[in-house]
Subunit: 427 residues, 2 copies
């Protein structure tokens, strides 16, 4: 069965994934190409703020946006909610859960997912945070733990329920740990007067010698200090190797007894079967040339987290962040617009606009060409940049205010326990 | 195992359910009793607006409120998230999913759930809307249908996907049908320019000769007209008797081919095993006397939807609405405060403040002692009363504005498809 989109006298570009890269490249090709976007969700997720959903800071609707609405008014644009199953390059065909589709150009912008590095026991017992569903589930789990902690009279059990281990000291782990620290400080004591919140432990475990290892040493130091001010226990040079749902072990030695382990220690590219196997790296990313063309293919491109372009500046590929995705998408869109003559195409060059992470609500670390700073001013920059991004997407001032209010007034989070893929099935 | 709450020198009142009745009675007993509230959710749901969640009008966090927060600052109050399993009246004990608890007074305020009147096939294939989860699921289902309608080239299939049958012409069915009509008119055509929205059919089926049968004839007539203005097909004197997921039948005759049937045709009380069987009616409600004391018990009370108090004014019991629940709870709270001498107790008398229903955004029907009106003014009253209620609970002006904005700007709904109890399991 074929996906039902009209045949047109325009080259057809099929884009898999409505993340930062997918949206940007579709915008570049607007009206002049037939663009078919396939995504398994009907919304774009602003991933940098998932940790706020997970900690009841904001509701999902503040950080997602319906894809159909992003492209309202676009001509020759077709959205299809479906899962990409297989690429058949010889036939220029993508097979999906709702049928097959022919493409002139295929753009893979599928992003990344949590990487457990093959540790199955860890995967089964820990919680990831790479999607809205997962963030909602994490939130419900955190709150449920406290409900259970109130009801148990077994003190060891209670302490385990109040112990959170976050593995991975990158921006995700740091921001999540900071937000949990805020919950511990401001929200939970009011909700659970019966519990001694001093017993709540938040461990952030990083295998390298510092948190935010991709940033400068000053930023790492400050971030660690900010975390410790929020009562987060930062453990460096430690590698978590096993977790059975309770006992957290490093190299065979039990380190903590915790009911919750959140895995933020790595990601892997989400690729689609059919891509020449040789071009897929161990981390799931697809090797691409300077035009984001997938190795060994003629008209299949990969963008953002799932692409790995090795350059002299970035011998291991670019960092898996929104900026890379957007810039590659812009470049590719402009290149495709020139037709398939690679002679006319311009290679991708990454302009690193810097990086940042926030720790709690008044502190952040920021590094860019023009400024490197930490503390309150950095936090203002962080706020500004993230709001700008969100608003750019939504284009509506009302959301800005909604979100601003939610963020300042931490207590707004309604702390619903609704498990999207629940262990308790519907009765 | 016993639920871990301190033994106090106060009578212990155990309340099952954090709905309107449960919250109100706990407030009446504030500080002077040891109150233990048990609910399977950690939040209160403002049920009158569930239909707005189901139609992407507002997010759940606008119509729920954390129970722990409702009782912030209460002394001698204990919330426990748990399911009530069984009452053992001889031992004054309630058994729950987290252990047993002794009570001096037990108050059952468990509300009502969807009543399929024993039609199992209907239960399995139709969608209910009595909880946040169910409303979210309904919303995802409605949106998913449209995503599927876009992808199918089978016209019969497409029409079935765009056909919605709502069974039950009470306030829930009427309000839901109106909101679906608004979606059809204002939102979906923009999202799905590929689809002919003229093919979308919304059927409201009622077995009696008029919608809103508990209200006056004028209200029924007007409500029907407003619905028809929104393209809702109102079918009276029809009883749906079977639905296999596609074919909607009345007395063996197929009436529609529809992918979605929403069942709002009845509710039944949610009772707890252990109550004297003789006191439980066929509709699941518990027979109570004028003090809301459950028949055949000495210290077990039932309030609101789950209670059935037959009086000369209400020979079949009071209507299952928030007002009855709140007024019974107030009365019971005051009575219990006087001690267990029934001589001193005052019997419950219902003061009917009227009823109302909205159809779409600018029309409603309102009936009360002082005013009976339809149309825009009625809608303003509807808005005012509902907002007042919400704000009374939340006590925060910010929520009022959030909600007001969401409501006026229909387009705010982010239309997330996230199925809380999904057919697609986590991978």
């Amino acid at each position: 069965m074929d996906i039902d989109v009209p045949k047109m006298n325009l080259p057809r570009v099929v884009i898999v994934g409505g993340g930062f890269a997918g949206i940007e490249v579709a915008k570049q090709l607007r009206d002049r190409f037939q663009v078919v976007m396939v995504d398994k969700n009907n919304f774009h997720t602003f991933q940098p703020l998932l940790y706020q959903v997970a900690t009841a800071g904001v509701e999902p609707d503040s950080i997602v946006f319906p894809l159909r609405k992003v492209f309202k008014g676009f001509r020759n644009f077709y959205f299809r909610m479906a899962e990409a199953l297989e690429i058949i390059p010889e036939q220029n065909t993508l097979r999906t859960s709702i049928g097959s589709i022919f493409y002139d150009y295929l753009i893979i912008a599928t992003g990344s997912d949590t990487n457990y590095f093959g540790m199955e026991e860890l995967r089964v017992n820990s919680l990831p945070m790479k999607s809205v569903r997962e963030a909602l589930d994490l939130r419900s789990c955190i709150l449920q733990n406290f409900e259970m902690a109130v009801t148990t009279s077994d003190m060891r059990e209670r302490e385990a329920l109040m112990t959170y281990v976050i593995v991975g000291g990158g921006p995700t782990g740091v921001e999540l740990a900071g937000a949990l620290g805020e919950l511990k400080k401001h929200v939970l004591p009011k909700d659970y007067p019966e519990l001694d919140l001093g017993k709540m432990k938040i461990h952030l475990v990083e295998h390298s010698p510092r948190v935010l290892a991709t940033m400068g040493e000053k930023s790492s130091e400050k971030a660690k200090k900010y975390l410790e001010d929020l009562d987060v226990i930062v453990e460096l040079n430690m590698r978590i190797t096993s977790y059975d749902g309770r006992s957290v072990k490093s190299e065979g030695v039990e380190k903590y007894s915790a009911a919750t382990l959140i895995w933020a220690a790595g990601v892997r590219g989400v690729n689609i079967p059919g891509i020449p196997v040789a071009s897929i790296n161990a981390n799931g990313r697809i090797s691409v040339n300077e035009f984001n063309l997938a190795e060994g293919t003629k008209n299949i491109f990969a963008l953002g987290d799932v692409a790995q372009m090795k350059t002299s500046d970035y011998p291991k590929g670019h960092p898996q962040v929104a900026q890379v995705a957007i810039q590659q998408a812009t470049r590719l869109g402009k290149n495709i617009s020139k037709g398939m003559d690679f002679q006319k195409w311009k290679p991708f060059h990454y302009r690193d606009k810097g990086s940042m992470a926030t720790v709690g609500r008044n502190r952040a670390v920021v590094e860019s060409k023009s400024i490197t700073t930490q503390g309150f001013f950095a936090w203002l920059i962080w706020m500004f940049v993230h709001l700008l991004f969100l608003v750019g997407f939504r284009n509506r001032i009302i959301v800005f205010f909604n979100w601003l209010i939610s963020y300042f007034n931490y207590d707004r989070g309604m702390r619903l326990i609704i498990r999207p893929f629940s262990r308790n099935k519907k009765s």
